[in-house]
Symmetry: C2
């Protein structure tokens, strides 16, 4: 019943837009190829298992770039290449990561070095000092005392039993709720100016703590992070930037492990650890790269116009970045493979982009957009800006598509509504919301008022277990969901390539 | 509504048993002490964090024994001591556990050495050979080829996203379902003779594989085990037994890690690892010990009769055994503390037992029962057999008590029904089932037809995350549930001590 409630308005809207035409036979071909002859498992093996962790400018990232270029070329795409987008900085490799408590008893810990941190001086061992800095006065307690020490910082989260599932799918009710536009604003959702000021102050104080610790020169930092049950969420300093000062070795450690040491310390039991971190920096090429490849348009009058699809190829380093974001790249590669395999001839040029440097600030897509479309600061536009119909992005994990965020572009709604209709058998309770979604590469396009879209995906384990964690492994992929996503994307891309007009745009953003 | 349905029959039954008397004022004292002045968190810190892993005859087990004896004595219990129950075997300590994949890229793995395995010869490194032995013919593939090799075995379980919560509590419906007696039988539930034969054959073949691998003499075995998201379930060979041949170093490893190596290998990518396992055996004292302590009975004519309560103090070694079974020991220690703190004077003697060697086959409780009550094989009984009223056990994790298993002792039902009534405000949907529950120390009593009971507890994360895992840490304890359990146990123990008659018994088991 709920499903019908959602479908009816879509049908009505579709009925209103007679100008649109969808090639239903083409969509059936796409479905058949994508659902019955899928290559998502094979692509997943290559990007996830074989390439491994794909931290920007790491060897794993290079392996993934090389594979993608070769594979896209083998499928018949043109101009497959690693296109530089600007300077990223140093690559970084993990060569050893070991930590265990050795007193009052032996216990191996689960930990991952923060990306771009230095090596320890061989194996370090000894007493653990807990830092507890909450106010400006607290610095004095530690001043001058941490040189060469092993310092630990407690996690802030909790790890009680979890009565909610790790993996969830959206209910029809939840999706229906998304149809109502979110409050508009500067992209900060419902944060008040006071909350933003508070967050900034907290971040500044946290930065001050980091600088204090660095200035004291400890031998190793053990940081309790979020997560539970052996899953831990990694993060990183900005140590990739050229000429950054050395960053003290830091192990992001399972909260259960750090809290064990903390409870022992707080109860007067001296805690000792042994640890070794070995890392290696790569400085031979500081350039950042995106993978770009094309299916040239078949219509001479439309081939100069472009439909783009993409996702970021880089990952964090604690695991193989299966859902963040090999998933998006698998789907996008499979989508262009489907278009080639079906023999469909898109009128406009289809261009896939697998971005680098997303995790450090959407660097790859921003660099690409700056080079091709214009300057986000001045809104000075380049000629290609007129030629991009739309950009479609996937970066919310392995969960199947349940709809799309319009990113405030109301004029696109009837078009997408019509395009979803023939996918109704595979997109359950599909939902189109005027809302924005943030945090990834479609924003680089949106910043230039280009139609950049991201899809509503089932969360599955993205927030609880996978994104940025040490457990973002092949097992976390729902292959059937990846197949569905590839079919939806291939359909949208094909429809965009064939449509009489380009996708309507929002008004050009004004520079303030 | 459902709750009422369950309560009504209990009230009716209670109304029928006029001979029983419950000292409601005493129960209120117990509740007040247990809920408002609880010491479960402090006991938990001592047994879980401070003692650490409590593998039988390990240093951690000794620390826990020493603490328990001292603590029970401090609370005023008598005769607190470590009572030997027979020969257990060698203690074992983990001194180093490290494994990482080094090729095709570096990735630290999550692993725990199997208990009682030997050390590697320093750090071992090199290519990983996967073993895939499914039939007798498969042995030939590996014969003579594994000497000094690093061999790996894939896990059998799967690790897809989990749409069910890790932690659950019983619903009223589920508890109601338990009230219906399970089919009676030899304790094997619904297994058919064919299924049992199949299971035995599988176990025998698995044993044969182990012996084959051992005879080939690899340097290290990497075993993919059950679990997910960084949680792994450990196991152990029987290497604790005196004069057991050396057991090859074996790392039980997260399934995601082993499956990564397996997929790479199967796709032609050579995989290398580096690993180091260092273990130490303790042979100075092979004796096994239980902790025993008493509150002597206050009634001269009844003090020779005994009410026992207990749980096993030993744990596996991958974590601190918080829910398996520090939880049971915390509850039982807190229950006797409550009885002392309230100043209640139990008429019969109350005896707490914290068992050793449970994880290797209920050794501690079996040894105790053999020494005090009789021979389970011959059913030759000792004089103390007549003097034990009941034994109450906790060993199903941190979840609160929701009822009790009668273990086939129908005559106890009206008694327990009456005893649960004044606990109705803290035992939700409490359920009394005629069924058996197995797998732990009350069975040692039941085997001699002594009234040995275990309680129905909410599962929480016991089956999914905690029992036998590397994640059975302090965080997994629900302290409020431990408080509730201690109050229920203290009430049951007190009522048993005060009751005019001892708890009725089942017919003496006949030796076949």
């Amino acid at each position: 019943m709920k499903r019908k409630l959602l479908i009816l308005p879509a049908l009505l809207l579709a009925g209103m837009s007679f100008a649109q035409e969808v090639d239903l036979a083409a969509i059936e071909k796409i479905k058949k190829e994508g659902l019955e002859n899928s290559k998502v498992e094979e692509i997943a093996f290559q990007l996830v298992d074989k390439a491994g962790p794909r931290l920007s400018n790491s060897e794993g990232y290079e392996r993934a770039v090389d594979y993608a270029i070769q594979q896209l070329s083998d499928w018949g795409l043109q101009n497959a290449n690693a296109e530089p987008w600007g300077e990223f900085g140093r690559g970084w490799e993990m060569e050893k990561s070991y930590i265990a408590m050795t007193s009052p008893y032996y216990m191996p810990f689960i930990a991952i070095p923060k990306a771009w941190t230095e090596s320890t001086k061989g194996e370090v061992s000894g007493k653990v000092y807990f830092l507890d800095i909450k106010t400006e006065e607290d610095f004095a307690k530690y001043k001058g005392k941490l040189k060469g020490a092993i310092v630990a910082i407690k996690p802030t989260g909790t790890q009680e039993p979890t009565y909610e599932p790790d993996a969830v799918r959206y209910t029809a009710e939840q999706l229906h709720g998304m149809e109502h536009p979110a409050p508009r604003g500067g992209g900060n959702g419902s944060y008040t100016p006071e909350m933003i000021a508070e967050l900034r102050a907290a971040r500044a104080f946290s930065q001050k703590i980091n600088e204090f610790i660095a200035s004291e020169g400890p031998a190793l930092i053990i940081k309790g992070v979020n997560g539970r049950h052996g899953t831990l969420f990694t993060s990183s300093p900005r140590g990739y930037i050229k000429d950054t000062p050395d960053v003290i070795p830091e192990l992001e450690t399972a909260p259960e492990n750090v809290n064990l040491m903390a409870r022992l310390s707080e109860n007067g039991v001296e805690v000792e650890i042994e640890a070794e971190v070995k890392t290696r920096f790569r400085t031979e090429d500081l350039q950042g790269y995106n993978v770009i490849a094309e299916i040239p348009g078949s219509d001479p009058s439309l081939k100069s116009e472009v439909v783009m699809l993409g996702g970021h190829l880089d990952s964090w380093h604690g695991a193989n970045g299966a859902t963040d974001n090999a998933a998006g790249c698998i789907v996008m590669m499979e989508a262009v493979r489907i278009l080639k395999a079906t023999g469909l001839q898109p009128k406009r040029t289809v261009r896939i982009a697998l971005w680098g440097g997303e995790e450090q600030g959407l660097h790859g897509s921003r660099g690409y957009v700056a080079k091709h479309f214009g300057d986000r600061e001045t809104m000075e536009l380049k000629p290609e800006h007129e030629k991009l119909s739309a950009y479609y992005n996937i970066d919310n994990g392995t969960g199947r598509i349940r709809g799309i965020y319009l990113q405030g572009n109301a004029a696109a709604e009837p078009i997408f509504n019509e395009w979803f209709l023939p996918l109704d058998d595979i997109v359950e309770d599909r939902t189109i919301t005027i809302s924005n979604t943030g945090g990834t590469d479609h924003q680089s396009f949106d910043a230039l008022s280009l139609p950049g879209f991201q899809f509503i995906q089932d969360p599955v384990e993205y927030r609880t277990r996978t994104h940025h964690t040490n457990m973002d492994t092949f097992e976390r992929l729902e292959l059937d969901d990846l197949k569905q996503m590839a079919v939806v994307i291939a359909s949208f891309v094909y429809n965009t390539a064939q449509k009489d007009e380009m996708i309507p745009r929002k008004e050009l953003r004004k520079v303030e």
